[in-house]
Subunit: 271 residues, 2 copies
């Protein structure tokens, strides 16, 4: 089911700057028993991302009211929220008065193989590099051609995700997930101030790590740091946490960090 | 008037990857007396850009037939053509079967001040930098947030365009135009293999320059080369050619290259 600006619809106008220029942001989150998980974090991130582009983020009450209408009939789903800058005339200039377009879409929760959670996943090393653009770094905006090109690099269904590096060969993220590397009691995650998307699940793990006796370090990480890691984890708001068991022929045994983190992350009281 | 996949409509489906990810390309061109100017070049560029993203470009006959329907009622207009990869499920992976979405929109021809053509235009020096991404360089794709952010840097209607540099401080283009620098009998235009859009009007000028006794050089151009130039020209398929008369306080007298080029460019027989 889809609401576009509060109206049941599957369409947006072609004048929408989301279509014209990718001028907007989005979120993808899990809904369980009618409750959008980690909602406050997702809303805060929407606001931050909108602000970075100069888009007026819709009020939380409005979004919650519209979500309430959708989630009554689909209490367990993946919810995608798209906020665009709204409509404009031809040309990049933003009209003085714009009203954001709000799209709420529910979808089926993906059924990933149980092995992804028990044994870990295989990873493709993407040739597509992420451009360095501090002005857009961290934001989950609608300009996602790099992710599209990276995802087109493999079609083997045994490969669950692709690992993306930036133009300077730093490891940044998966095409749809963030990355952590465990090395002893240190948990490394790539610096995302120059490219990449700073996801909500990543932020939660960074906060939770202390409870597991781990210290988090945010750094520029060259690829050899991935190969040297004790455990490699991917995370996002839909699948939660996966360990990586194989990357380009190199294999890792199943560790226990993904399982331990999952126990915390599934406790939504910890948000 | 707008045709979406051959049907009169102002809407696209929210599942369209053009909206979801900016997964598509576009063209903006002039139509005079029902004839899309430089059509073959624009179509060829559409094909090249689609191919670079792995999108199947619609056949020329189909586009011409749909354009014929639109242009009968609006023989003088700006025509915007958007080709997206079509619809997909949630997620970056491209479905095995996709059908490109074709959007044709007509709009009014902008009425720029006569002074823009006689005396030249004022330029803003944009703080927003273009990221270096060879995989997308040259393509007029729908990921245009950098242009949007750059265009938001000024609101003074006296300023006609913004000059954009890349992350390494090379001058690349205007937010909606390409750039040429005249220095003696040499005509420089920035190298666009790492970022920027390689426009049709730029290609035409590069080919025509020889008739004006000018040699074209494609180079990485730092900003001081702009300030040192005898004349600075901007071009696109809608306004044609403008000289720059002012950039951040530095002024240039009206030269004659823009006028001379315009005479050639207006002759569509030269395509």
């Amino acid at each position: 089911m889809i609401l576009v600006n509060g109206v049941l619809s599957e369409h947006v106008r072609v004048f929408d700057r989301g279509l014209m220029y990718g001028d907007g942001v989005f979120r993808t989150l899990l809904v369980r028993e009618g409750r959008p998980l980690c909602w406050q974090r997702h809303y805060d991130k929407l606001c931050t991302d909108c602000a970075a582009l100069g888009i007026a983020c819709p009020a939380q009450d409005r979004l919650l009211a519209e979500m309430g209408r959708l989630l009554g009939t689909t209490p367990d789903c993946v919810l995608k929220i798209i906020i665009t800058r709204g409509e404009g005339a031809r040309g990049y200039a933003v009209p003085e008065q714009t009203e954001a377009t709000v799209i709420l879409m529910t979808g089926l929760i993906p059924q990933y193989p149980a092995q992804h959670f028990s044994d870990g996943v295989r990873l493709h090393l993407c040739a597509t590099r992420l451009a360095i653009q501090p002005r857009l770094a961290g934001i989950k905006h609608l300009n996602r051609l790099e992710n599209v090109l990276a995802r087109r690099e493999w079609s083997d269904p045994e490969i669950a995700e692709g690992l993306m590096l930036d133009m300077e060969e730093n490891v940044i993220e998966g095409t749809m997930s963030n990355l952590f590397l465990l090395q002893g009691s240190l948990l490394y995650t790539p610096y995302l101030g120059r490219c990449g998307v700073a996801g909500v699940q990543r932020a939660r793990i960074m906060e939770l790590a202390g409870r597991l006796g781990l210290e988090v370090k945010v750094e520029n990480l060259p690829l050899d740091r991935v190969y040297d890691a004790d455990e490699i984890l991917l995370c996002n708001s839909v699948f939660g946490v996966w360990q990586v068991r194989e990357l380009e022929g190199k294999k890792w045994r199943a560790g226990n960090l993904a399982t331990r983190l999952r126990a915390f992350l599934n406790d939504d009281a910890l948000n």
